[in-house]
């Protein structure tokens, strides 16, 4: 037998006994000797029946000694080898005994099949469950709406007013900035093309229809997904972590009515208003570029805009806004209310809510475009 580390050596004083002689000063900073040599010895065919630790010559010790002895003793005990720790320093011996006192709980390892088909199957099953869950959420929301129409929905009016503020007034600044810039960019890009045909004034038509019918609503929807949808998911997620949602349920209040409904109503009503504001800002952005860079007179630009901007374009934009409002608020609330129980889960729920809201806003926008084309608007 020989030395393994300058602090540990193995001996076989008797055939049935493996003695680990431990010397020197032990400190965590110096590391812990490897367990393998002793493990090999315990596993060998001439394996001992008894593992004895002799630490008579240890000058100082800390957790590194306890860890070393405990890891070997636990391994030996699991193999039915008797462990003798009587020659350890008293404090260390007590700690090792304490660590060995509770038998390690056998944790059933979940065996996941790693084959491609199994993984595809798992993803499909999960998607199916999520779809069912989302549908039941939509159903609950519909029932809550019905209760609202009947005047039986229970939520606090102040929550509704607060939701009006967070999903409306508070978003004015960012919506104004984004849509002004979008209007300006649209005018600029369009002008480069139209100037080639001497039709620069038609930039007003492009901006008016583009912003009112499409971009005002779409950009506002996306901004609201990142702003309001994320905030709803985070608030509801945190409430779930803090068992506030459970408290509502035990009080007999339906979380969908109490928490989700006011947010969905507020966002669905405020988003068209924001879209109208966004349209105005987009038109101003176009006007700014048209009059400063393209030499179109202000009066001429405004008249051209008036002639191009049919009421239906504006109404379609506002209608989209209302639909996006429902989608953004419901998605944010859905992921918030399905949040896990930890702090990390709130972040995860928020991310999912934003990504899914943006995807759904674009999908709903595409559906609108196809349907309106079919009915000839």
């Amino acid at each position: 037998m020989g030395e393994l580390d300058d602090r540990v050596s193995l001996e076989r004083p008797e055939r049935a006994v493996l003695q680990v002689r431990i010397t020197g000063a032990w400190a965590l900073a110096d590391g812990i000797p490897p367990a393998e040599p002793v493990v090999r010895e315990l596993e060998s065919s001439s394996g001992p029946e008894r593992l004895r630790f002799d630490a008579g010559a240890v000058s100082a010790w800390d957790s590194s000694l306890v860890t070393y002895v405990h890891s070997l003793a636990a391994f030996a005990a699991a193999r039915g080898v008797a462990v003798d720790t009587s020659a350890l320093p008293q404090g260390a011996r007590k700690l090792v005994e304490l660590a060995l006192a509770v038998k390690p709980r056998a944790v059933a390892e979940s065996v996941e099949d790693d084959a491609l088909t199994a993984r595809v199957g798992r993803v499909a099953l999960r998607a199916w469950t999520t779809l069912g869950d989302a549908l039941s959420f939509v159903g609950e929301l519909a029932m809550a709406m019905l209760a609202l129409v009947r005047g039986k929905a229970r939520f606090r009016r102040v929550d509704l007013l607060h939701a009006f503020e967070t999903s409306g007034v508070a978003a004015l600044g960012i919506v104004a900035l984004i849509n002004f810039l979008i209007g300006a960019v649209l005018a600029f890009v369009g002008a480069i093309q139209l100037q080639q045909f001497g039709a620069a004034v038609f930039v007003a038509n492009l901006v008016a229809i583009g912003v009112a019918r499409e971009l005002g609503a779409l950009m506002t929807g996306i901004v609201m997904a990142g702003r309001t949808g994320a905030s709803f998911a985070a608030v509801l997620g945190t409430m779930r972590v803090g068992e506030e949602v459970d408290a509502l349920e035990t009080m007999g209040l339906r979380p969908v009515e109490f928490l989700v409904l006011p947010r969905v109503i507020a966002t669905a009503l405020m988003l068209p208003a924001l879209v109208a504001y966004a349209d105005l800002m987009g038109l101003l952005g176009g006007l700014f570029v048209g009059t400063t860079l393209l030499d179109v007179g202000t009066t001429e630009y405004v008249r051209q805009t008036q002639s191009a901007l049919a009421l239906r374009h504006v109404v379609i934009g506002l209608g989209k806004g209302a639909a996006f409002g429902v989608v953004v608020a419901a998605t944010g609330c859905y992921y918030g209310s399905r949040c896990g129980r930890s702090a990390g889960a709130v972040g995860e729920a928020t991310t999912k809510a934003v990504v899914m809201s943006i995807v759904l806003v674009v999908v709903v926008d595409a559906l609108f475009t196809v349907l309106l084309h079919v009915v000839g608007l």
Partner: protein
Amino acid sequence: MPAARADPIEVRELTMGYGDRLVQERISFGVARSEIFVIMGDSGCGKSTLMRHMVGLNRPLAGDVLYEGEGYWAAEDERREQIKRRFGVLYQYAALFSSMTLEENVSLPLGEAGLSAADARRVAATKLALVGLAGFEQHYPSEVSGGMKKRAGLARAMALDPDILYFDEPSAGLDPLSSRRLDDLILELRDSLGTTIVLVTHELPSIFELGDNAVFLDAERKTMTAHGKPRELKQSPDPKVRAFLERGRL
């Protein structure tokens, strides 16, 4: 150099508050080596606030906390970081990192102290076994009970063999058996490692069973009104201290 025989902890004329609101003033006491010291008082008296000042989370309005004779708040930032390594803290709700397994939670301070990943894992396994959590290394905090979280928090607090362990309401939210087990564990640690222990609690059984010495903080008078051995404080001249230790039976 501080005198070698200075108390591991001395609180000197400590005054604490948040903004304009005074919490406690002129608190002074010493904690001897390997002693279990209890900070007690009724709810809202500033027990946990005092602990937060002792572990360097809140800056006192006046006074200082001395570790081995060296003022914590008088020290430079870098020196404070070194002093902090001497103590471990078990928070009221364990404060485990929810995105890490129990083993990763315990390994974190070990890795930061320079241990190799393999050594850190071995020490973490032993620390978790010490608190009765062998086999739960790969569990996340959300997958274990409140008592187990507390014990895992203790394993993390003592990962680096601190000289001093702080416990904030160790029994809060635990059933009597788990609470008793934790008390036993605290005694074992003190006896085996000679750790100095500061306990913030209002649990009478723990106070009498564990406490070598104690201070009582009065929420109304905003200062400490008693200091001594818990059993002797039952005869304190202050009726409020007596009422507290007798659960209102006088």
